[in-house]
């Protein structure tokens, strides 16, 4: 486990470079950009739920918060470098404060779900009601139900007139996702990440071993929110408008569906789940015979019932059974680590 970080980075770089080269040949970069952004959003929930065991029904809150922070800051600053940073920092701080309240109150499973959901709904209701001219931050009107259009989109740092858009923007997003993925891998390999997994497995045991689980959960939650915020800022740049629907119940449901379908407890599952389902949704959006929501619902139910671990672990397991070299008597955890390595490659 220790020595393989460099190998891990190499694999990530090679695979992502291959995908970045190959995918635009098949799908338009405009569509691919949004798939990548959703992939990053899925990864953020996969990190806190799959590895930290924090049940968050309101991950869309940080996505929306990142998007709104970016839009508001971009209007006020007239360039995009500081707004991008703010869009990561603001959701992280917000989540840290919420985490302080939740984890230090020793709230667990379903209660965490309720509170994260409720906080998202509060944001949704609040933003929806800010249509009046009195709701202004700097030069930016919050715009209520109509959202905020017409802000400065991503530019080359230091030169506000050099916009990054189209194909170039796709490459920026793809590189960002690869970077975030490597950072998440590094985090999970660090002692912090391994202790986080330990907390997921057995909270009492970890606290008896002397780890401050409350602080660790808060930090992990905050990191997840930062990634979701980054995804939100990238989304704002892609769509060039932010609306309250970013905070909606449906958006949160979709993030969870992506993670369930892809598989929670590995890093690639949520990304592929998100990108795959979002692509299916785009394809389905082009026909009007069957309602889109209906199919998403069926997918979620079927996966919870029949494949609760998700697609990527199931495929990895199948791969291992068919082609993998299995050591006799290998421990269960050892096998799981190997699965993860395979899934990444």
């Amino acid at each position: 486990m220790q020595g393989s970080m460099s190998k891990d980075v190499m694999t990530t770089l090679v695979v992502s470079a291959a995908l970045i080269w190959a995918l635009p040949l098949m799908v338009s970069t405009y569509t691919l950009t949004i798939l990548i952004i959703y992939g990053m959003l899925g990864l953020s929930l996969g990190l806190i739920w799959g590895f930290g065991g924090i049940i968050c029904f309101g991950q869309a809150a940080y996505f929306g918060l990142g998007a709104y922070t970016y839009a508001i800051a971009a209007i006020n600053f007239g360039e995009s470098t500081i707004p991008m940073l703010l869009a990561v920092i603001v959701p992280a701080i917000f989540a840290a404060l919420l985490g302080l309240m939740m984890f230090y109150g020793r709230l667990t499973d379903v209660y965490l779900g309720v509170i994260t959901l409720v906080v998202m709904l509060i944001l949704f209701k609040f933003i929806n009601s800010t249509a009046g001219p009195q709701y202004v931050i700097g030069n930016a009107r919050l715009g209520g139900y109509n959202g905020i259009p017409g802000f400065q989109t991503l530019n080359v740092p230091g030169d506000p007139s050099a916009y990054i858009w189209g194909d170039a923007y796709f490459y920026v997003c793809a590189v960002m996702l690869a970077l975030v993925f490597i950072l998440v891998s590094a985090l999970l390999r660090s002692s912090f990440g391994r202790i986080a997994v330990g907390i997921r497995e057995n909270e009492i045991r970890m606290s008896l071993m002397g780890y401050d689980i409350r602080a660790r959960k808060t930090i992990l939650f905050s990191i997840g929110a930062a990634i979701a915020g980054l995804a939100g800022a990238l989304f704002a740049n892609w769509s060039e408008i932010v609306t309250p629907s970013l905070f909606s119940l449906r958006q949160s449901a979709e993030i969870i569906i992506w993670c369930i379908v892809g598989g929670f407890s590995n890093r690639v599952g949520p990304i592929f789940g998100a990108a795959g389902l979002a692509y299916i949704k785009i394809l389905l959006g082009q026909q009007s015979m069957v309602d889109n929501t209906l199919i998403m619902g069926i997918i979620l139910v079927v996966f919870v019932l029949f494949l609760p671990k998700g697609l990527v672990p199931a495929v990895a397991e199948l791969w291992n059974i068919s082609f993998g070299r299995r050591k006799r008597g290998a421990s269960r955890s050892g096998r799981r680590v190997r699965n993860r390595g395979k899934a990444n490659g």
Binding site: I55, M101, M102, G105, R106, L107, D109, V110, Y111, G113, V114, I115, L117, V118, V119, L121, I122, K125, F126, N128, S129, L249, R250, A253, I256, I257, I260, V290, D291, N292, T293, L294, I295, M296, G297, I298, I299, L300, V301, V304, L305, P308
Partner: protein, 288 residues
């Protein structure tokens, strides 16, 4: 004087509607520890059942109080047999599966009825108190809510079926060894919970314009009320509905309806932080 009477009635109405909204979810969660996130859609379907029945010429009260609960109860029965039955004891998985079901129902209702607003007029005329107009239908909802709570209590406490149900919820193995099938009892309980959801949706239908996504407006409130209520079914339902109803309605009058909703949500967060096991985790312990 007139104003305070109106405010009092409005608060009573807010509490009553919260009880109505949450009752179905509370029965299913309190008895079976299953959180049905498709609850809002069950209510929505109750509303559609009522409207369809009324348009076919059925008396509106028959449609609301009998037809809608029956239809939604039957849908709940099918859902329980096909999906939820396999997930007992896995709280998070049931939530996710029922969330999927909720999307499924939104989709299917959109395909049948279209994405348009439908509605029926309130069957009870309004009347005036001093300078203010009060919706007479609000009284009907308050009465139904009171009747509902009394009925629920009477059934659970007074009848043999209620006793068996409560026993099964506490120790399914014991109930099974006494010759009652937990499977059948869960099924019946889920039917009752769904029927209550359908009833709530039907009774509230004349007040709202119904769209396939209206369920989302209810589910969050119901979910919060039930979780904040805690383990005791009826005491939790009534106490948390009262707290939230008073808070949201006070803020609605003092500031704006949106702030009323926000105040309710903030109150829920604070309440859960202070009483992580819900109101009845601390007070009224061991009551029904």
């Amino acid at each position: 004087m007139d104003l305070s009477a109106v405010i009092f009635i409005e608060i009573l109405y807010a509490v009553a509607s919260l009880i109505m909204i949450s009752a179905g979810l509370a029965v299913v969660f309190g008895m079976m520890k299953v959180i049905n996130l498709a609850h809002g859609e069950f209510m929505m379907m109750g509303g559609y059942a009522t409207i369809t029945a009324v348009n076919l010429g059925v008396n509106v009260f028959v449609a609301m109080l009998i037809i809608a609960p029956l239809i939604v109860g039957l849908i709940g029965l099918v859902v329980e047999r096909l999906v939820i039955r396999h997930l007992y004891g896995r709280l998070i998985d049931t939530m996710l599966a029922t969330w999927g079901l909720s999307l499924f129902f939104i989709g299917i209702v959109t395909m049948i009825f279209g994405n348009t607003t439908t509605g029926i007029s309130t069957p009870i005329p309004g009347f005036t108190v001093g300078n203010y107009q009060i919706n007479g239908y609000n009284f009907f909802i308050i009465l139904v809510a009171i009747a509902l709570v009394i009925l629920l209590y009477a059934v659970l406490k007074g009848t043999r079926a209620g006793l068996i149900a409560r026993g099964t919820m506490q120790r399914p193995d014991m109930a099974a060894s006494l010759g009652y099938s937990p499977d059948r009892i869960y099924m019946a309980t889920f039917f009752c919970g769904s029927a209550l959801s359908g009833l709530a949706g039907a009774v509230l239908a004349p007040l709202v314009g119904l769209v396939p996504t209206s369920g989302a407006a209810y589910i969050a409130k119901a979910f919060i009320t039930v979780i904040a209520g805690g383990p005791s079914l009826i005491a939790g339902l009534v106490s948390s509905s009262t707290v939230f109803g008073i808070i949201s309605q006070t803020f609605s009058f003092a500031v704006s309806p949106v702030m009323g909703e926000v105040a309710l949500l903030v109150a829920a967060v604070v309440l859960l932080r202070l009483l992580p096991q819900g109101v009845t985790g601390k007070f009224f312990k061991g009551k029904l």
